[in-house]
């Protein structure tokens, strides 16, 4: 049991390491390689980077719940089992290795058009984060409101016409009701 747990933690380490563009030695997957906190900043633009407490999440969820078949654990979804019944641990378990940050690009769409591709409905990186995080948070009562995880950047406030960029006029058609 202990070694299994160790394996999980090691896999986490690898996943998060890759998220941070930090490449760990492939063979050595030790518990101490696992960063407790991860800064997810690859998509930061309208919102500031998100601090992700990986160590805390390990207490709530099994690896397989977020990392699917890549950590070497058997998935429970029968659709996954059709191919991944005996899938070994993947070389990298980083979200961004399978869920592209370049969603809906020409290359991405071409891959999904492949008639032999099963994973035609795989979310992009942003979708994967939100679907997985918020999906689980709603079930177990974790933070699910946008601003419990996100903080606006200047660009974000501009985009949403909020804060110092909030509309001042009151003469618009929306406001006379």
């Amino acid at each position: 049991m202990k070694s299994r747990k160790k394996l999980f933690s090691a896999s986490m380490a690898l996943a998060l390491g890759a998220m941070l563009s930090w490449s760990p030695p492939l063979a050595a997957m030790d518990e101490e390689d696992a960063p407790d906190m991860v800064q997810i900043d690859i998509l930061a633009n309208l919102y500031a980077p998100v601090e992700f407490d990986h160590a805390m999440h390990v207490e709530y969820a099994a690896c397989v719940e977020c990392h699917h078949h890549t950590t070497g654990t058997k998935p429970s979804n029968p659709d996954c089992l059709r191919c991944h019944e005996n899938s070994p641990e993947a070389e990298s378990v980083a979200c961004s290795d399978c869920h592209t940050a370049d969603r809906f690009s020409k290359k991405d769409l071409e891959e999904r058009s492949e008639p032999t591709n099963y994973h035609i409905d795989k979310p992009g990186l942003k979708g994967a984060y939100h679907l997985n995080c918020v999906g689980c948070h709603k079930i177990i009562g974790g933070p699910a409101d946008c601003f419990e995880c996100h903080q606006y950047t200047e660009a974000g406030k501009k985009r949403f016409n909020t804060g110092e960029f909030a509309p001042k006029s009151t003469g618009h058609s929306d406001s006379h009701h």
Binding site: L109, F160, N161, D174
Partner: protein
């Protein structure tokens, strides 16, 4: 001028008119067999994924250079707004809106984004007599304000009540509607701004035919989660934007009585008469008038000659 129109030239004109009408008939038959561009792009909207964050509305506003909104885009009180007994609609300041629906059997609200659905055979396009609308091979239904005369027939023709009119501008009145970010994105193969902004991938962009495969897979593999229907696969003859839902579509505000064939098919027979009426009737009635008044005129002429 009128004197030149004798029986021969009258017959000639009528003949030309009939030929013209026949030619148009040929064109219409071609249009009838059109089932949409094969590689057309579209968007699949998954109502189970939408959380009502309004990121799509904000992105659209900036991308299209639309006016400043009345309330910030993170103000969720807009979901309680009722205008003339209706939830929010698209208008000259917003090409897309998200509305909230409280469905009794769900323990959470349901959100639905509306915008132009970019029909395969758009009713707005076929209703427009100056051809201000174009369905591009990429899948967008775009609009040319330079030729539009502001008759607003398209607004009545649209089964989804999407095109709106810019009444606020006396000098630049025009129809305002979602154009699928055609100029800035779609024609380069890029997703529209709303899709790019959606955090939850409630909006999936891709080739329409791929989206149907994706929707089928999603419905099949999440047994019991979705109603087994893709709204827009056949509605109004098929639309580039399609929806899947966990509750029957009428509960999320969809018009489920939208016909399954292009709106064009209902008016085609009538419309084919229009060119005939426009080309033949003027000549025909001018001819009748001349024939009817010929004797009178001749009499007038002889009387004039007598008097001289």
């Amino acid at each position: 001028m009128l004197k030149k129109l004798n029986r021969r030239s009258f017959l000639k004109t009528s003949l030309a008119g009939t030929a013209g009408a026949a030619l148009m008939k040929g064109k219409k038959a071609e249009a009838h067999s059109f089932t949409g561009y094969d590689d057309g792009l579209g968007v699949l909207v998954d109502l189970t994924r939408c959380v009502g964050c309004r990121s799509c509305e904000a992105a659209c506003n900036k991308e299209q250079g639309l006016p400043e909104p009345a309330k910030p885009f993170d103000d969720m009180s807009v979901f309680d707004e009722i205008h003339h007994g209706q939830k929010r609609r698209t208008d000259e300041t917003r090409y897309t809106v998200v509305n909230r629906y409280d469905v009794p059997e769900l323990d959470h609200p349901l959100f639905r984004k509306i915008q132009c659905n970019h029909c395969q055979e758009p009713a707005c396009l076929t209703s427009c007599f100056v051809n201000a609308y174009t369905k591009t091979p990429e899948g967008a239904v775009i609009y040319n304000p330079d030729v539009c005369v502001g008759c607003r027939t398209c607004m009545i023709a649209c089964p989804f009540y999407i095109p709106t009119f810019r009444y606020s501008s006396a000098f630049e009145p025009r129809v305002m509607k979602c154009i699928f970010c055609y100029d800035t994105r779609l024609k380069k193969g890029l997703p529209p701004a709303c899709v790019e902004a959606c955090p939850n991938e409630a909006l999936t962009f891709g080739k329409r035919k791929d989206l149907i495969r994706i929707a089928r897979q999603r419905i099949r593999e999440h047994e019991g989660k979705y109603v087994d229907h893709i709204y827009g696969e056949h509605e109004a003859g098929g639309t580039a934007w399609m929806y899947i839902s966990s509750v029957p579509f009428e509960k999320a505000g969809f018009d489920i009585h939208v016909p399954k064939e292009p709106i064009l098919n209902y008016v085609k027979d009538f419309l084919s008469i229009v060119p005939m009426v426009l080309t033949i009737w003027p000549g025909l009635f001018a001819g009748f008038h001349l024939l009817a008044t010929r004797k009178e005129k001749a009499a007038q002429v002889t009387q004039d000659e007598k008097e001289v």
